[in-house]
Amino acid sequence: MGDRVYAKLDHENHLLLDQPLLRLPFELLRKNFRSAHFEVERDGSFVKNTLKDTATSAMNGKASPDDVLKSLDSMLARMKGVKRKLSGFADEEARLYRHEQARVRHLAELYDMHSTEDVKYEHWSRTRLDRLLVDYLLRSGYGTSARMLAEERGIGDLVDVETFETMGRISQCLRNGSVAEALAWCTAGDIKKELRKMDSNLEFELRYQQYIELVRPYTKTKLAEAIKHAQKYLHPYRTSHPKEVRQACGLLAVPPQRAASYPDYRALYSPSRWEMLAELFTTTHNTLLALPSIPLLHMALSSGLSALKTPACHSSHPASLAAAPSHATSLSLASSVCPICSTELNELARAVPYAHHTQSHVEHDLLLLPNDRAYGKARLEEYSRKAGLPEAQVKDLRTGQVYPVEQLKKVFIT
């Protein structure tokens, strides 16, 4: 009863997990556009101004025909540059449109299905799992596997291998102690502006790390460089990060070998800062592109494991242990082994609470065997028939004990 309601698909809410799927290409589209706009703006005004200046100088006789040719050449070069870059952006745009279209189409397919029992739904849901897996693999840095899986399943347009690979490369560089790549990322084109908008301290932390690395060797030349670096890059942050900037000054007085007795400075010299930077970068990157901070698979699993889990899945009950774990109910007569009891997920599910139920879900016409185990009448009879027992006998599905029918008792579930 009520099962048809449960199996019905709530289309609008079924796609909650899939918002990032459409958001990412869109954010990338916007980013792509802003970069294109930036190039056109810069080189466009250059060409306009140069042309004006050249015309004026030519009129005043200040520019020789050679000069005119030269400046025309420079304008041409600029415009060709714009064309090359714009074509690149247009290609990227076409790719993103293709992704977005494939994704919207994929999500729209869901409207053709009305029940979770639909065969098409199973296919769709499998594709979704593949997407979630690729997302997880990419975020965990297993790029090769992610690529292979996406390719084998033909879902290249539904996943974002490139985006995550770029991100993974940069954060790996940070873990290896190199700031340059991350710094290049966060100062490129318009990202700087976006980061400022979201009040990110990524650039500051990266510059700070550069400073620390200049102080670390503690040689005269390097210290001088460090001071210059601080004047240029840290000083502007003195109002927003007063404490850090002051500490930066203090750091000059504390060489690394003496830092052990000062926890604050020790922390600045600590290699764990690289890990912190890598994580800061990842979070910033994900926020900027509207990506959730944790893998989607985690969300799906923690919600799903709880929904499926029952107290019986981790039961250590002597009665059920003596005979078989609860999943031994998976006789061919039962539908299947419970996924939570299956080896793959059992340990993982330990961490989550079990589902809440307000109604009992038991088989119809329960009969109690003398060994205190209850089974549905239909299943009991079928099993006994398949086991080739005479009609007046039944066999326990789990323990295999045989009992005469008259020893069975009816169980009433209210």
Binding site: L51, P65, T116, I294, M299, S332, P339, E347
Partner: protein
């Protein structure tokens, strides 16, 4: 219908707003500049022409740049519009408000367990290439030699391919298994070999070749019988029918080993062992021989209708094969992720309600809200005590009163007075000792 709306919006966007149009307009500017350059170069020593050319160039270039800017503007406008539609699609009235639950992540603490689940999922899906790449990528480098060593030592966590073990409770290593060694234990490729053989049998089944499946079923007949499975007989029966249909249906060579004579011979050779358990069905099959000329009109036509039979035996073969490995037939990861998407709206609804109250989103043991799943996803019997409305657990098991009604033990103890209990659902009364703890 939000997605269908979005599909239309996207159609509009991709048609009208394209940077490639800006590229065309830039091309025009380049043409203008090239032309002007040529003219200036030709009239090398004529300042007048140079000035004239440059002056004439001003306006077209300005217009050209404006055109490029207009192109960009229309792209920008189109994207903004689509952005709004996108926002709308996920925030309309029918959709539960709020953000995805990213704050509480019980999964984050167990990357090894997740990796293991994924590796097993890939193997059972038959994606052996991806699986082995993944396992080597996910196994920390310095440990990999160790892992190989371990995998040789560890008493194959999963059964060897030739003799899948029976699902007895003691050898399901779920409690004490160290997850990282588990992942590397998959290196031992026992599981992969098992699934490879499963897929080869399945592909034979698909091409209507039953023999590999029958061989497997015969090798594991003891375990199958213990599970109450008739797989072996079902396969043999189908083989009999398949042969019976003769060369024009089964496409096998027209020899005495095919057709009716072949079927008869097959029955003689193989059905003997099933006589005790399946006598009736064997009788039916043999009687049908008599009707071979007009089977379609005979009482046996239902038995010989095998349009779905191959799919059915393939499904039941998969189920049995996985069960003998102690695994469920459907990928648990698939079921869990699907259930997760179905249950997610409830979780978000709940989170929205408790937000700001500082309440933790779960109690320790049980979810605070109901997550309705389709019946096919309910695997265990669930008993909710009709008195306390609590699910029964190990500590609070179901108890049956002498009258047959069932309560949770705690409820029963609360109802008892002087060792006597009156059933809350019928007039009968009994003593506490008479109540039996039952296993549902």
């Amino acid at each position: 219908m939000a997605m269908l709306q979005l599909e239309k919006e996207l159609e509009k966007l991709t048609k009208s707003a394209r940077l490639s149009e800006a590229v065309d307009d830039v091309d025009k500017i380049i043409d203008l500049l090239t032309e002007a350059r040529q003219r200036v170069a030709e009239s090398a020593n004529d300042p007048h022409t140079t000035i004239l050319t440059l002056t004439k160039l001003q306006n077209p270039i300005r217009e050209g740049l404006e055109a490029v800017n207009d192109d960009l503007k229309s792209v920008h406008k189109g994207q903004n519009k689509f952005g709004k539609a996108l926002q709308q699609a996920f925030t309309n009235d029918k959709v539960i408000k709020g953000t995805l639950p990213t704050e509480h992540d019980p999964m984050a603490a167990h990357p090894d367990l997740i990796n293991r689940a994924i590796a097993m999922h890939l193997l059972r899906e038959g994606q052996f290439g991806v699986a082995s790449t993944f396992i080597s990528e996910a196994t920390p480098q310095e440990e990999s030699s160790m892992a190989q060593f371990q995998s040789q030592l560890s008493p194959a966590t999963l059964a060897s391919p030739t003799s899948p073990r029976s699902p007895t409770p003691t050898d399901v290593p779920i409690v004490d298994a160290d997850p990282s060694s588990e992942l590397s234990a998959l290196h031992s490729e026992a599981l992969q070999a098992s699934f490879a053989s499963m897929y080869s049998i399945l592909s034979s089944l698909k091409s209507h070749d039953l023999l590999p499946a029958i061989t497997w079923a015969r090798a594991n007949c003891a375990e199958l019988e213990a599970r109450g499975s008739n797989l072996e007989f079902e396969l043999c029966k189908l083989q009999f029918i398949w042969l019976f249909k003769g060369p024009e249906v089964n496409g096998l060579p027209d020899t005495p080993a095919n057709g009716r004579s072949g079927a008869l011979q097959y029955a003689r050779d193989n059905f003997g062992r099933f006589q005790q358990r399946h006598l009736r069905e064997i009788q039916q099959l043999s009687c049908a021989m008599v009707y071979s000329s007009n089977l379609g009109a005979s009482p046996y036509r239902a038995i010989f209708d095998i349009t779905l039979a191959f799919d059915e035996v393939a499904a039941s073969f998969t189920r049995e094969f996985c069960s003998l490995l102690g695994l469920s037939a459907e990928s648990p990861l698939y079921v869990a992720a699907t259930a997760g998407s179905i249950a997610l709206p409830q979780l978000m609804k709940f989170l929205n309600k408790v937000k700001g109250k500082g309440t933790e989103w779960t109690t320790d043991q049980e979810l605070a809200f109901e997550t309705p799943l389709p019946k096919s996803m309910v695997y265990h019997s669930i008993f909710v005590c009709p008195v306390s409305k609590e699910q029964t657990t190990d500590a609070n098991p179901p108890m049956m009163l002498p009258c047959g009604h069932v309560l949770a033990r705690e409820s029963l103890q609360r109802l008892c007075k002087n060792n006597k209990c009156k059933c809350p659902y019928c007039p009968s009364e009994g003593r506490l000792q008479e109540a039996r703890e039952i296993v549902l």
